[in-house]
């Protein structure tokens, strides 16, 4: 490598490497240079207006401020930051929604249908809330999920389908429990088979008459099934025990069974193991009272409200 001599060209750095390798030293384009200076000026203004440099145990908060109202109704002024900005944003949205939410809170359930505008708000806002919070289990149309979460669009309700009951269910959650063999562990396999036959006969299935007879006696006797499901097998909404006389099944896969034996096996499986699922979480900590009321109306209007 030779660090040779002077350049033969104008506007170079003046060095020549390897005989003829040179470097131009042209000025930067004016537009670029001025943009560069402009960004520096922008930064200086930004430092002045927004939180920027750390100073000691704090930082320069900038001159820009944000006004908002907190949930106690106190007016506050804060230096610019995203959390204050959120407060302001929520304030504005809340102000726009307030007339509607006030109306939701003030209108008793049975009067809501008389107000089409309010109803429209509830159905559209309820749909959004439902998709965010309920659809994971009850599915996006409220059709429920077999073996998991009940259908909300039919008129069969475990805990009651009135506005108040739906509201109560959403607020506090539910937890369905059926003890294995109804709590009577001494039931034999033949007895459980008889019970399954009887339970299936309740919803109109043609079953073996002798077994149905035996199951009937167990249901109202040693099995003590009537304690929860009622003497007529129609369930009790106060404790969420299922109505066994309709053809709606949530836990026993009767609809999926092809033969009578499969149906009996499906019901037997539930009787034998009992149920300790069907947990619906309580939503009172996550949703506001108005949101829950809104959802109660939405669910009620899905088709099956009573």
């Amino acid at each position: 490598m030779s660090h040779a001599t002077e350049s033969k060209f104008q506007n170079t750095t003046g060095h020549v490497w390897d005989d003829d390798l040179q470097e131009y030293n042209n000025p930067l384009p004016a537009w670029w240079l001025w943009t560069f200076y402009a960004t520096i000026i922008f930064a200086l203004i930004y430092w002045f207006m927004y939180p920027s440099w750390p100073v000691g145990k704090g930082f320069l908060t900038g001159t820009n401020t944000i006004e908002y109202v907190n949930d106690k109704g106190e007016k506050k002024v804060s230096h610019w930051n995203t959390r204050a900005l959120l407060m302001q944003d929520m304030n504005e949205a809340a102000a726009k929604q307030k007339p509607y939410f006030d109306k939701v809170a003030a209108t008793p359930f049975d009067k809501i249908n008389a107000d089409p505008e309010l109803k429209g708000f509830i159905v559209s806002a309820g749909k959004v809330l439902f998709q965010d919070n309920c659809a994971a289990c009850h599915q996006s149309g409220g059709q429920g999920k077999f073996g998991f979460a009940p259908n909300l669009t039919d008129d069969d309700w475990l805990y009651g389908g009135s506005y108040d009951k739906i509201q109560e269910t959403i607020t506090n959650g539910r937890h369905g429990i059926m003890p294995a063999k109804g709590g009577n562990a001494s039931l034999t396999d033949a007895q459980v088979t008889a019970l399954a036959n009887y339970v299936l006969s309740l919803s109109g299935e043609q079953m073996d008459a002798a077994k149905v007879q035996q199951g009937d006696e167990l249901f109202h006797g040693a099995g003590a099934c009537f304690g929860c499901h009622g003497a007529d097998g129609k369930g009790n909404q106060a404790i969420g025990s299922a109505n066994l006389t309709d053809k709606i099944w949530l836990w026993a896969n009767v609809p999926g069974a092809k033969t009578a034996d499969e149906k009996v096996a499906a019901v037997k499986a539930v009787i034998n193991s009992g149920l300790n699922k069907g947990v619906m979480p309580a939503w009172k900590g996550r949703l506001s009272d108005e949101q829950i009321k809104l959802l109660a109306v939405y669910v009620h209007e899905l088709g099956g409200g009573k």
Binding site: K72, M87, A136, K145, G278, V279
Partner: protein
């Protein structure tokens, strides 16, 4: 006095100077955070994970959940409405490494705890499409079949203790945890009883939640641990106790 020439001709020197120049940007942003008061919000309730939750968290990291799920609710209205209160720095103070993530193929999980039942979490992990038909999440059914290896959970806690997580390894540290977190929690943070506590939580639950997270009481699986972890996410701080602008002043 340096000449530009001499830097360019000395690769070692140039590398050192380049590294210094590049680090300035990072250092200017990071170092002040150690000195500014109030970077971490003062809230009650945030505690280190119990041994079972910790193993669940390890599985979360192992399976790469963070690649599709963030755990960082930003202070925007749409996120607040969908996911809940924005995440606080204080809430991930015991997370090493934190799971904030930067990609949301799936939803944010920062406050997924207690939103769904254990049963839902298990069914969803086994076959996500059975619960959410439009989901693209892979199946994690094998977690249910894989027994949880918790033989080294004490070592894992001890390692986190080195990074400043207050797991206790002696009586003095235990006593200080009792003062800070209360006795029930302090017992769970004791490295000396880690395995026993893990088994106890898996069978009997902890903090009001029933145990047996995967619905199969016969064994402790990775599913138990992961569900226990998911169910505690974002539930430690009770935001009802604070004004809704309580945390504005920390920014």
């Amino acid at each position: 006095m340096f000449k530009h020439d001499s830097i360019e001709k000395n690769v070692g020197l140039m590398m050192v100077l380049m590294m210094l120049a590049i680090s300035v940007g990072g250092l200017v942003e990071i170092i002040p955070l150690f000195f500014i008061n109030d970077t971490i919000e003062k809230v009650d309730g945030v505690r280190p994970y119990t041994p079972l939750e910790l193993r669940g968290r390890d599985i979360y990291v192992r399976e790469g959940c963070f690649l599709c799920h963030s755990q960082m609710i930003r202070p925007f209205r749409d996120e607040q409405l969908r996911y809940g209160h924005y995440s606080l720095a204080a809430e991930s103070q015991y997370d090493h490494p934190f799971q904030w993530g930067s990609k949301r193929t799936g939803p944010d999980l920062a406050r997924v705890g207690k939103k769904y039942s254990n049963e839902w979490q298990v069914a969803h992990l086994m076959d996500p499409q059975s619960m959410v038909p439009e989901s693209v999440m892979p199946h994690y059914g094998f977690l249910e079949k894989t027994p949880l290896d918790y033989s080294d959970v004490g070592d894992r806690m001890a390692a986190l203790r080195l990074t400043g997580v207050p797991y206790s390894s002696n009586q003095a540290e235990y006593d200080s945890n009792v003062k800070q977190f209360g006795e029930d929690v302090a017992k769970m943070l004791d490295i000396r009883n880690a395995q026993k506590n893990l088994v106890d939580q898996a069978q009997n639950g902890f903090g009001g939640a029933p145990g047996n997270y995967d619905g199969d009481a016969s064994n402790i699986t990775e599913m138990d641990a992961l569900v226990a972890y998911l169910q505690v996410l974002g539930t430690m701080v009770d935001f009802k106790k604070y004004d809704n602008d309580q945390f504005v002043k920390y920014r």
